[in-house]
Amino acid sequence: MKIAVCVKQVPDTWAEKKLREADSRLDRESADGVMNELDEYAVEEALQLIEAQGGEVVIISMGPDRASETVRKALSMGADAGIHIVDDALGGSDAVATSAVIAAAIDGRDFDLVIFGSESTDARMSVVPAMVAERLGWAQLTFAQKVEVSGSDVTIERVTENGFATVTAATPAVVSVVEKINEPRYPSFKGIMAAKKKPVDTLSVADLGLDAAAVGAAAAWSAVNDFAARPPKAAGTIVTDEGDGGVKVAEYLTTQKFI
């Protein structure tokens, strides 16, 4: 079985994120880059599948030079090889363009399965896995809390509002996972040492056969015209309970349209 895992480098989850004045884009330099947390679960799931059934895990990441650290981290967890798509033309790409790039990197490389984390902590759109599946014409099995591969079938437990649904599709397929699915491993020191010897292909937009004009900020379907900082927290209202505290709380909730 050959599995691709798509990972994204994001600003450290706990860091304060800033937008750049110049182009209204996320200032990625202002915080340490880390692997998107949910993508660690995706890597772990792929490694577990391979450990049980044999095969190969290839990490795919689109991002600036320093995203290679994130690819390396996934390799140190145990993945076999990496594809890093890096190109100045990609800066500011929206989800539509990102999905085109990722799909082009997957297409023709004989993957049986592509696994994503279900969302990234910076953009939080949760749409790229679905868009990639659509572009490839593969089945999409998203928000999985459990994945099983049996022959050429992949079955997941798809998290729903009330529980989960069991969904099966034929491979090749795209799966996205939620954090309930496993407990990602820490890279071992041996894994860290081994990672530096693993192959990572660095590809440009042209290498993927895509037009640079179709990606990047200029081609995005949405644009940020303006942004403002979140207003500072205002002091709360203090209600003294004189036997009518419940009523006052209810009145307040009504003004806020909660009830």
Binding site: R72, K73, S76, R185, Y186, P187, S188, F189, K190, I192, M193, A195, K196
Partner: protein, 401 residues
């Protein structure tokens, strides 16, 4: 992570190793440390995690299944772990010293026999010099090994064995009086024996008893024990390096790298104390503003940070010195002395910033306050470090003529 205690000139692998350890410490150690400490419980899950990561083989050469990393990498890993919970670094420290002594002084057979299993953490090392009547004054030991045919019979009592119960290989220093000339120096009458044993307490092999854990003020979780030898029979093959009379020098070599390790632990503990202090100082409000804005507290933070930084750089320098192949006994002594004294001071400052809450067991600083003093004593007291430093200085700066 803030800008304190950074290390210049690390390679990518060292950075990646430290990042992995830092994540592990933040997620698996800090959240559980207080509960485990209050229960004086051995941190089995943490030790298993570190084993899987490969911490036990970090400095063991690659040919024996380890990573062959430098003392510096090791010390920085220890610093990170001690930031989480200092006794966890104690679980590793004795293992590291024994494997270091094997690498430096073991016979080829001993290396092949022990090191691959030590690299995985299957065999876990401890070492033992101190006795009820002596610690730093090593030459005062009374435990003896007496030759009987092909065997040695060991008798005596040892004290303060870190990991005495959980270890499976103990390097023990004893007198072997019959092996050298009567007139020889006492330092040449000591021999290190390697004793394999099952983990646990009681009479763990004929002639060898590990009584229960010693109750301590802090440094909990890790087991500190006595060790009693009563007619314990070993063979000449169990002598580290194969020859009697070299034990003292082997142990001193091990303790020298151990001192860098203790300095690193003090650095880690200080960093944590600073983190807790600087956080609390911005939360706690008195007289209408966060206490960090009162100069008395701000100056404390400045002092703490300066000490954290100085101790870290001194520790890094002493580790690098050893890695470059130079003798580092004076630098290791200075690093251990400075880092442990500063640690005590930084912890106390953080404790004072916490006010009354610092005295509550709910707050981490209360635990750190009980852990810091161990570093003033373990692996050679401050006074012993000063003796070593002064001795080297007087050699180096000897008045001519």
């Amino acid at each position: 992570m803030g800008r304190l205690a950074q290390t210049e000139g690390l390679n990518e692998e060292q950075e990646a190793i430290l990042e992995a350890v830092r994540d592990f410490v933040d997620n698996e150690i800090i959240p559980v440390a207080n509960d485990l400490e209050h229960a004086d419980e051995y941190p089995q899950a943490i030790v298993d995690g570190l084993k899987e990561m490969g911490v036990f083989g970090l400095m063991i050469p690659e040919e024996y299944g380890g990573l062959g990393e430098s003392l510096l990498t090791y010390a920085l890993v220890v610093e990170e772990i001690a930031r989480g919970w200092m006794p966890v670094s104690g679980v590793i420290n004795t293992h590291f010293i024994v494997s270091y002594m094997l690498v430096q002084h073991g016979t080829e057979e001993q290396k092949a026999h022990y090191l691959p299993r030590m690299a995985t953490g299957e065999v876990r090392g401890a070492f033992s010099m101190s006795e009820p009547g002596c610690g730093s004054d090593v030459a005062a030991i009374t435990s003896k090994a007496v030759r009987e045919g092909d065997e040695y019979v060991l008798n005596g009592q040892k004290m303060w064995l870190t990991n005495g119960g959980s270890s499976t290989l103990v390097a023990v220093l004893v007198l072997t009086p019959g092996e050298v000339d009567e007139g020889a120096s006492v330092y040449k009458k000591m021999t290190t024996f390697l004793i394999e044993k099952p983990s646990g307490f009681g009479e763990v092999r004929p002639g060898l008893t590990i009584p229960g854990k010693i109750e301590k003020m802090g440094y909990k979780g890790v087991d500190t024990t006595e060790l009693v030898m009563d007619g314990l029979r070993l063979s000449a093959d169990d002598i580290l390096g194969g020859e009697p009379g070299k034990g003292f020098y082997q142990m001193m070599d091990g303790v020298e790298v151990g001192r860098v390790n203790v300095a690193a632990r003090a650095c880690g503990l200080s960093i944590r104390a600073f983190e807790l202090g600087v956080e609390y100082a911005q939360q706690r409000v008195t007289f209408g503003k966060p206490i960090a804005e009162h100069q008395a507290v701000a100056f404390r933070l400045a002092d703490m940070a300066t000490k954290v930084e100085a101790a870290h750089q001194m520790m890094v320098m002493s580790a690098r010195k050893k890695d470059s192949g130079e003798r580092n006994d004076m630098e290791a002594g200075m690093a251990k002395y400075l880092a442990s004294e500063y640690c005590k001071e930084v912890v106390e400052d953080s404790f004072r910033i916490h006010g009354g809450y610092g005295y509550s067991k709910e707050y981490e600083i209360e635990r750190l306050y009980r852990e810091a003093p161990m570093l003033l004593i373990g692996e050679g007291t401050a006074d012993i470090q000063r003796m070593i430093i002064a001795r080297r200085l007087l050699e180096d700066y000897k008045t001519r003529g």
